[in-house]
């Protein structure tokens, strides 16, 4: 098991090594849990995201580097430039397992190098290395330079790096690894850039041995994932399997959430995307392999890229009212090259287009008209370089709306400063609540509250009291969405803390928390399902305390007004039996959030938080977070 923490101070150019405290592993596992604990202890409310005192913390989990199915994830924790509060991002690929095999459970990076550097990580060793020659390069060239011809096959290690966007302090900048995976959300690329840190190159001595018990548990878990019929679509098609059904149900956000459906679904659906698919790929240890390499062979948008997956597809497709998949594929490539979050960038482009529609924003070179390919691709480059209006947009829609003024905030689809992912809260109401309450800002992966949308009736009956299941499973019913979200948040936190992918857990509940226990037990971490879920709850509460300490309150747990004031019409997708073409036909109903405050109140109550969204004493005692509560809230608040 990886057991070493490297403390890297870029200002002093020093590296210190310590062994992980076993108590931290018992309380937080690793990955997201460990990152949350370290950030809480190291970064106070006075530290600004680009201060050298901010920390950028890369963590792996107990399953990382082992053959456990989907144990591919790397977690990055930081104070976010997007939200000014708690931030994390999580990426797949191969770099996390490589880091774990090199013996590291965490790289804790602070300070700021005087000139550009990269970290060369080998077996339990980190060397701060000059990187002037890499500064200014895109992420593909950076990886090529560090890995040489061995490149993508991993023989010369793995690289995680920033592109020009991170160097330029773009607030929506991502960290890119493995030629197409991204730790994207919340601006980690900008934090990395602020430290003059261009890349981390990891090369371990190779796999470590796992016990026969662990390998047996792994084999069973892998077999289950491969044979579970619930995973069939994800394995066969990838996340874009969602496109058609979301369009039918009004859950395909379009035109900056002015609509929830598009009339051009045939042009962007999985069948259309098959034309560009050249290869199916997967992350380390993954039997699901949801990812695809796409290629536009000729024309204006000639590109090869890993993706686009669903979130990117909607961000640069329906959200920008773009029906050309080649433009989405090109946009995906440009975001990777510059090192940008595809969700935040797509939402920001859509925001710019709606601002232009209302004559609040213009550009001398780009029309900013809905669906205009030149505007979509041109804005990505301008944002990445902070050129022209790209400088206004570079820090995301919340900050751009402040700069533009004149009511532009009405078009800013964000929560806590983080652009919304690609669900429509007026139809996917669990996600609406989840986007609002997530501690890292609008986020579909914080709680993945989709037991209802995913049709997991059997799972709901297993988890929840029988009398609430019928209403809980109705996506339009708001009454028990909080219950679904709270459970999902705990399970998501565990998943992130172990270093595994949510497509093996909360996406379809193919594995329940109890299914993870044999793997943990074989690593000497035997516990009950209840204790495992309590770790998830502890992580969520600690993240909330970080935000409370930053001054966030109930007011920061709301969606943009569009979602509570503008009903969204749903039209039947009608397919012509002769031509096979789909169009939007008969009006069916409108999607609407009726009592968002009621949902929020229940969420706080279930969590044991007060009406302002702050954890209360009893919860903190139960979770062993009294000390952290005293730091965040003050000793007085916990007396009595």
């Amino acid at each position: 098991m990886p057991d070493t923490i490297a403390w890297i101070d870029l200002s002093k150019s020093t590296v210190r090594y310590t062994e992980i405290d076993p108590q931290l592993v018992r309380l937080y596992l690793g990955g997201r849990g460990l990152g949350a604990k370290l950030l809480f202890d190291l970064v106070g409310p006075e530290v600004k995201p680009f201060d050298p005192e901010n920390h950028l913390i890369f963590t792996t989990g107990p399953f990382s580097g082992r053959p456990w199915p989907t144990a591919s994830r790397t977690h990055v924790t930081f104070k976010s430039p997007a939200t000014g509060a708690y931030g994390y991002a999580n990426t797949g690929g191969h770099v996390g397992p490589e880091l774990a095999r090199a013996g590291f459970i965490a790289l804790v990076i602070s300070g700021k190098a005087s000139t550009p550097v990269y970290l060369k990580v080998t077996q339990k060793k980190v060397v701060i290395t000059p990187a002037e020659a890499l500064w200014g390069l895109g992420t593909y060239a950076t990886q090529d330079q560090l890995l040489g011809e061995a490149g993508e096959n991993g023989k010369s290690g793995r690289v995680i790096c920033i592109g020009p966007a991170g160097e330029n302090g773009v607030g929506i900048a991502a960290i890119i690894n493995d030629y197409g995976r991204a730790a994207a959300r919340g601006g980690p690329g900008a934090v990395m850039g602020s430290k003059n840190l261009k890349a981390i190159h990891v090369l371990s001595d190779g796999p470590f041995q796992s016990s026969a018990e662990f390998n047996q548990a792994t084999k069973k878990a892998s077999h289950h994932l491969i044979t579970d019929p619930k995973n069939k679509g994800l394995m066969a098609v990838g996340t874009n399997i969602l496109l058609r059904s979301k369009n039918k149900g009004g859950d395909l956000p379009a035109k900056n959430h002015q609509l929830g459906q598009v009339p051009f679904i045939d042009q962007i659906d999985p069948k259309a995307l098959d034309h560009y698919r050249i290869k199916k790929v997967g992350c380390a240890s993954c039997p699901i392999r949801c990812s695809r390499i796409s290629e536009v062979k000729e024309g204006d948008y000639q590109t090869e890229v890993e993706g686009p997956e669903y979130e990117t597809m909607d961000s640069f497709g329906p959200m920008c009212w773009n029906s050309n998949p080649e433009v989405v594929i090109r946009a995906n490539y440009l975001c990777n090259e510059y090192g940008l979050d595809t969700i935040s960038t797509g939402v920001t482009v859509a925001f710019a287009m709606e601002c232009a529609e209302h004559k609040l924003l213009s550009d001398p070179e780009l029309s900013l008209e809905w669906g205009d390919p030149a505007s979509i691709l041109g804005l990505i480059e301008k944002i990445g370089r902070r050129a022209g209006i790209g400088d206004i947009l570079a820090d995301g829609v919340k900050n751009a709306a402040v700069k533009i003024g004149r009511g532009a905030d009405a078009f800013a689809m964000q929560v806590k400063g983080l652009e919304m992912p690609r669900q429509e809260p007026r139809f996917a109401k669990g996600f609406g609540l989840g986007h609002a309450t997530s501690n890292r800002g609008a986020d579909h992966l914080y709680g993945m509250p989709a037991i209802d949308l995913g049709g997991n009736w059997d799972v709901a009956r297993q988890i929840f009291a029988e009398e609430i299941v019928e209403e809980l499973m109705d996506p339009a019913n708001e009454k028990y969405k909080a219950d679904m979200l709270v459970y999902g948040e705990h399970y998501c936190a565990i998943t992130d803390a172990l270093g595994i992918c949510k497509f093996s857990t909360v996406e379809e509940y193919s594995q329940m928390p109890a299914d993870l226990l044999p793997g943990l037990e074989s690593l000497g971490m035997a516990m009950t399902e209840e204790k495992l879920l309590e770790i998830g709850e502890r992580i969520v509460n600690l993240e909330r305390l970080f935000n409370v300490r930053c001054g966030l309150t109930r007011q920061d747990d709301y969606l943009p007004k569009r979602f509570t004031t503008e009903p969204l019409p749903l039209y039947a997708n009608e397919t012509d039996p002769v031509t096979g073409e789909t169009h939007l036909g008969q009006y069916l109903r409108s999607g609407q959030l009726y009592d968002f405050d009621g949902m929020l109140d229940r969420y706080y109550k279930l969590r044991g938080w007060n009406t302002q969204g702050c954890p209360e004493k009893d919860s903190l005692i139960r979770l062993g977070l009294v000390k952290e509560g005293e730091v965040a809230i003050g000793k007085g608040a916990l007396i009595g």
């Binding site: 019929p229 619930k230 069939k232 679509g233 066969a236 098609v237 996340t239 399997i241 969602l242 058609r244 059904s245 979301k246 039918k248 149900g249 009004g250 859950d251 999985p270 669903y310 979130e311 992912p421 690609r422 669900q423 996917a428 996600f431 579909h444 992966l445 993945m448 989709a450 209802d452 949308l453 995913g454 049709g455 997991n456 009736w457 059997d458 009956r461 499973m473 109705d474 996506p475 949510k502 909360v506 996406e507 379809e508 749903l570 039947a572 997708n573 009608e574 397919t575 039996p577 789909t582 036909g585 069916l588 109903r589």
Partner: protein
């Protein structure tokens, strides 16, 4: 679904998500011929509500199927789709959209 001389059975069907919107019903009671299988029921529903089911992979053997079917709380799979329905069976149909 009546055919002269053929015995029918009664099936209770619950629709969720957009299937309820497209069928304009949350719950229906359907008479189907005796010996109808789950697959047969899906075919009947596709004919009754083409907008709801067409292209949604009502055939569960399709890799792109996004409909989940439960018969008396048990998930129907490729292996069980030819099960013969019995009178008073309770079917639940979900458009399985999931996350992102």
């Amino acid at each position: 679904m009546d055919n002269p001389g053929q015995k029918n059975i009664v099936i209770h069907i619950h629709f969720y998500g957009f299937l309820a919107d497209y069928t304009a019903a949350r719950r229906i009671v359907l008479d189907v011929p005796n010996e109808t299988s789950v697959a047969g029921l899906l075919k009947i529903l596709s004919d009754l509500y083409p907008a709801a089911f067409r292209q949604e992979g009502a055939n569960l053997e399709d890799d792109r199927s996004v409909v989940k079917v439960f018969r008396n709380n048990e998930l129907i799979t490729e292996e069980t789709i030819l099960q013969t329905l019995e009178s008073s069976d309770e079917m639940r149909l979900f458009p399985a959209i999931s996350g992102g």
